[in-house]
C-alpha cells in the first residue's frame, strides 16, 4: 500500500460557515488525499486530540471569523507541546493578504485564502511533502 497523505480539515471556534471546508475536503479527496473532517464548533483541544489519534500529516484550518492570527498562534504552540511538531498547519478562509506574512512567520506552512483554486491547493499541499521525499 502506498503512503497516502492524511489531512484533517478542521473548523475551530463558533463560526458555522462550513461550505468552504466541505468543498475543499471533497476536492482533496478527488486529488487522492485521505481527508478527515472534524465538523463544526471545535475547540483546539479537540483538534489536537483528533490529529494525534489519526496521525495526520496536515491540519487544515478553515477560519472565516477573522480570528486566524490568535487561533494559529495558539494551535502551533499546542502542537509543539503535545509532541506533534511534524504535522504541517495550513489555513484557509477569509484571510486578508496583509496577514499572510505574519502567519508564515509563526510557522503556518501554507495559506490558501478564499478563492484559491483547487489546483493551487492540491499542488500547494503536495509541495509540502515533496521537499523531503
Amino acid at each position: 500500500m502506498e503512503n497516502k497523505i492524511r489531512v484533517l480539515i478542521a473548523k475551530p471556534g463558533l463560526d458555522g460557515h462550513d461550505k468552504g471546508a466541505k468543498i475543499v475536503a471533497l476536492a482533496l479527496r478527488d486529488a487522492g488525499f485521505e481527508v478527515i473532517y472534524t465538523g463544526l464548533h471545535q475547540t483546539l483541544e479537540q483538534i489536537i486530540a483528533i490529529a494525534t489519534q489519526e496521525a495526520v500529516d496536515v491540519i487544515g484550518l478553515s477560519i472565516m471569523s477573522g480570528a486566524h492570527l490568535p487561533i494559529c498562534r495558539k494551535l502551533l504552540a499546542m502542537m509543539i507541546k503535545k509532541g506533534l511538531p511534524d504535522i504541517r498547519l495550513v489555513v484557509g478562509g477569509v484571510i486578508p493578504f496583509q496577514d499572510i506574512p505574519a502567519l508564515k512567520q509563526m510557522g503556518v506552512a501554507a495559506v490558501f485564502p478564499g478563492g484559491t483554486s483547487f489546483e493551487d491547493i492540491n499542488s500547494g499541499m503536495k509541495a509540502l511533502f515533496e521537499k523531503e521525499r
Binding site: R29, E34, V35, T38, I50, A55, G83
Partner: protein, 323 residues
C-alpha cells in the same frame, strides 16, 4: 522512527501518538511494521472485539457513539476503527464516521481511528486487523470496528471480531434480505435502529422468526434482537449489555475453541496468502518473459491455462533455487 524499544514501550503504555504512528506504518506497508507487530503480539489477545456492520445510513456510527458512552460508564477503555470507502477514481477518501462520535474526542480513554478501505472489498481495509492488534496491545478493553457497509458481502469482519452486530433499518427490507442471504450465520446481535419508525416492532419480530428458523449456529449462543433509536440514545444500554452478555457467554462456552479455531485459521490463512502474494508478485513483475507471454496470449498463440502453469513453474524454480 524513535528508538524501537522505546516506541514499543510507549504503545504498550497506551500512548495515543505512538499507537497512531504505528498504525500509519502498517497502512503504509512499512518494512518495519512486521517486526513491530511481532513484538506487540504477545501483549495482544485481551480485548473484546465487536464488529458493527450494516447498510450505509443505517446508523452504525451513531450506534458506536452510544456504545462508547455506555462502555465508558463501566470504565472500559474503548478503541474504535471506522472504515470508509476509498474513491476508486482518485484513491482518496473522506473519513467522516467520527463526526458522529465527536463528543468523545478528548476522552483519554477513547481512541478513534478512521481508516480508508484502499480498494479492499469485504468491508475492512487490509490494515484493519493489524491496527486492531495495536489497539489491543495499547490496553483497550473493548474494540469497536465499523465496516464500510457497502454491501452484504462483508464477511471479513467475522475473521476479526468476537461479536458481530448487524444494524438493520426497519421497513427497508434490506435487513431481512441480508439475513436470508446468509449473514445470519455471522450476526450475534441484530440491531433494529430508528425504533420510532413504526414498523420497528414488525421488523424485530420478523428477524426473531428468521433467526429462530435458521438456528444454524455453531455455538449455543442465541442471537438477540435489540431495538434502538441511537440518535435519541434509546436502547443503547440494552445493546451494550447484550454485547457484554455475549462476551460472558463466549467465556463460558463449553467448546470455545471451535469458533476460536475457525477465526484464527481464517486470519492465519489470510496472512500467509498475503505474504505469499507479496513475494510472488515481486517475481512475476520482474520476469522479463512476462510481456512476451502477454503478447502470445493476445495473438492466441498460447492458451492462458498453459501459460499460467508455465509461469508458476518458473517462479517455483526461482524460489527454491534463489535468484
Amino acid at each position: 522512527m524513535p528508538d524501537r524499544s522505546d516506541f514499543i514501550k510507549k504503545i504498550l503504555a497506551g500512548d495515543p501518538g505512538a499507537g497512531a504512528r504505528m498504525i500509519r506504518l502498517i497502512e503504509a506497508d512499512d518494512p518495519q511494521a512486521f517486526g513491530l507487530l511481532r513484538a506487540l503480539y504477545p501483549h495482544s489477545g485481551k480485548a473484546f472485539i465487536i464488529g458493527i456492520t450494516g447498510a450505509p445510513g443505517a446508523g452504525k456510527s451513531t450506534i458506536i457513539n452510544g456504545l462508547i458512552t455506555q462502555f465508558r460508564k463501566q470504565n472500559f477503555k474503548v478503541g474504535v476503527i471506522a472504515v470508509d470507502p476509498t474513491s476508486p477514481f482518485s484513491g482518496g477518501a473522506i473519513l467522516g464516521d467520527r463526526l458522529r462520535m465527536q463528543t468523545h474526542a478528548t476522552d483519554e480513554n477513547v481512541f478513534i481511528r478512521s481508516m480508508a478501505s484502499r480498494g479492499r472489498a469485504g468491508g475492512l481495509s487490509r490494515a484493519t486487523r493489524d491496527a486492531a492488534l495495536v489497539l489491543d496491545a495499547m490496553g483497550h478493553h473493548i474494540l469497536l470496528i465499523e465496516t464500510v457497509g457497502a454491501g452484504q458481502a462483508e464477511f471479513e469482519i467475522s475473521y476479526l471480531a468476537h461479536s458481530i452486530g448487524i444494524v438493520v433499518v426497519p421497513g427497508s427490507c434490506d435487513g431481512i434480505q441480508a439475513v436470508k442471504a446468509g449473514i445470519l450465520e455471522t450476526g450475534d446481535i441484530f440491531i433494529v435502529n430508528k425504533g420510532d419508525m413504526g414498523d420497528a416492532d414488525v421488523s424485530a419480530h420478523q428477524l426473531s422468526m428468521v433467526i429462530e428458523m435458521g438456528k444454524a449456529r455453531k455455538t449455543g449462543w442465541n442471537p438477540r434482537v435489540i431495538k434502538t433509536h441511537a440518535l435519541e440514545g434509546l436502547g443503547l444500554a440494552e445493546l451494550a449489555a447484550a454485547f457484554l452478555a455475549h462476551r460472558d457467554f463466549l467465556g463460558t462456552d463449553p467448546d470455545p475453541d471451535k469458533t476460536r479455531k475457525e477465526r484464527e485459521t481464517l486470519y492465519f490463512n489470510c496472512l500467509v496468502r498475503e505474504l505469499a502474494m507479496k513475494k510472488l508478485g515481486a517475481f512475476m513483475e520482474t520476469d522479463p518473459a512476462y510481456p512476451e507471454i502477454i503478447n502470445q496470449l493476445l495473438a492466441r498463440e498460447i492458451d492462458p491455462f498453459t501459460a499460467a502453469e508455465q509461469v508458476f513453474k518458473k517462479i517455483q524454480r526461482k524460489m527454491t533455487h534463489g535468484k
